[in-house]
Symmetry: C2
Subunit: 218 residues, 2 copies
């Protein structure tokens, strides 16, 4: 499969055009759902799945808790959909990288985006082995599809970067991939922010530098 095919990640148009435009009620419903997902995103980023409660979500949105269950059947599904939307945003960033760009720079740009999202509180934790959310995610097909798509795109760049000598050829590609994924939820970010000594931009660049350059002198 070619790199360009892997990088065309925009969603296909719906097969059937809607017969009429959504009613006011439907628009309101959709807007509320979006507000819920925004709140969930923020809460997942700040507290994580296990510590996030449905009461908090409802309170943040300004609706009653039972209303949440009209939109999402469970807390697990709610979080899974929020993660799905996150991957959509990440796939948008991936497909926005120019094909002429050096693959290592594409990798760095995606990492920068993820780190910025983490710092501004819009990056839910990636699912660690420990989270009770993890099992729900792999069983949520829309999430899994996007994860595969993202993994393929990143894998293509990694292979290309190894081929052009910019990424170490001695490291297995999986190690490179997982190392990049893990940086998006690296607690170093929050530790550095807490010192109050660096701007968000400086923190992002310090993370990118240590990730690609390592701690040792060159």
């Amino acid at each position: 499969m070619s790199a360009s095919a892997l990088l065309s990640v925009t969603q296909p148009a719906p097969a059937i055009a809607p017969a009429r435009r959504p009613s006011f009620r439907e628009q309101q419903f959709a807007a509320r759902e979006q507000a819920i997902l925004t709140a969930v995103n923020r809460l997942l980023a700040t507290k994580g799945y296990d510590l996030m409660t449905m009461d908090e979500v409802a309170g943040e949105v300004g609706i009653a808790k039972p209303s949440l269950y009209k939109h999402f059947v469970s807390k697990e599904q709610l979080a899974a959909v929020a993660m799905e939307k996150l991957l959509d945003r990440m796939l948008d960033v991936i497909s926005a990288q120019p094909l002429t760009q050096a693959p290592i720079d594409s990798l760095k740009q995606v990492l920068r985006w993820a780190l910025k999202a983490h710092l501004d509180g819009s990056m839910p934790l990636l699912p660690s082995t420990r989270s009770s959310l993890r099992a729900a995610l792999v069983n949520h097909a829309p999430y899994f599809e996007r994860l595969v798509k993202m993994t393929e795109a990143m894998g293509t760049w990694i292979e290309a970067a190894k081929a052009d000598g910019s990424v170490s050829g001695t490291l297995p590609s999986e190690v490179v991939m997982y190392t990049l994924f893990a940086r998006a939820c690296d607690p170093t970010l929050e530790f550095l922010r807490e010192t109050g000594q660096y701007t968000d931009e400086q923190i992002v660049e310090l993370m990118v530098t240590t990730c690609f350059g390592g701690l040792a002198s060159r």
Copy 2:
């Protein structure tokens, strides 16, 4: 303060010698407490604080739940003491490094130890900003003392390694320190283990290599 002073981290002997040796009952009590801490350590490493239940701890040790509360007043304190013991083990490793060793090698050895402990299930998560355990830890003086001691020892090595040119002089020491701490709870470890393609030793070396050498070619 000199490096050797910072590195003498062994505990001072008790000021008052015990008048008699512990009774059988006391020995039994101490052994049970040790068994509890071992179980907690394992559970913190596999599930994390929030997902660990007191029922599980009791079940693992083979005692009733109320007995736990004869040893520790709360789940928070139980975890805090387990973390305190973990730092003791880490301080032992730190003080075991020969003073003649290059400081970067001491840093690598401590990192290797932490990674191995993580892989064999005896490394509780370092407290992320999100964990509800975190507040309890900083208020637990014995933990905090050890944390300060460890930080000072690592800081001394980092400064020395920057001075001898083995660690990048352009990176702030805090960035180096937090980066090393974060590697001990890096999910990359578990991702790599799950592939089943590497031995634990290979995983440790891959992590040390990417941490100090980075992803980019040299």
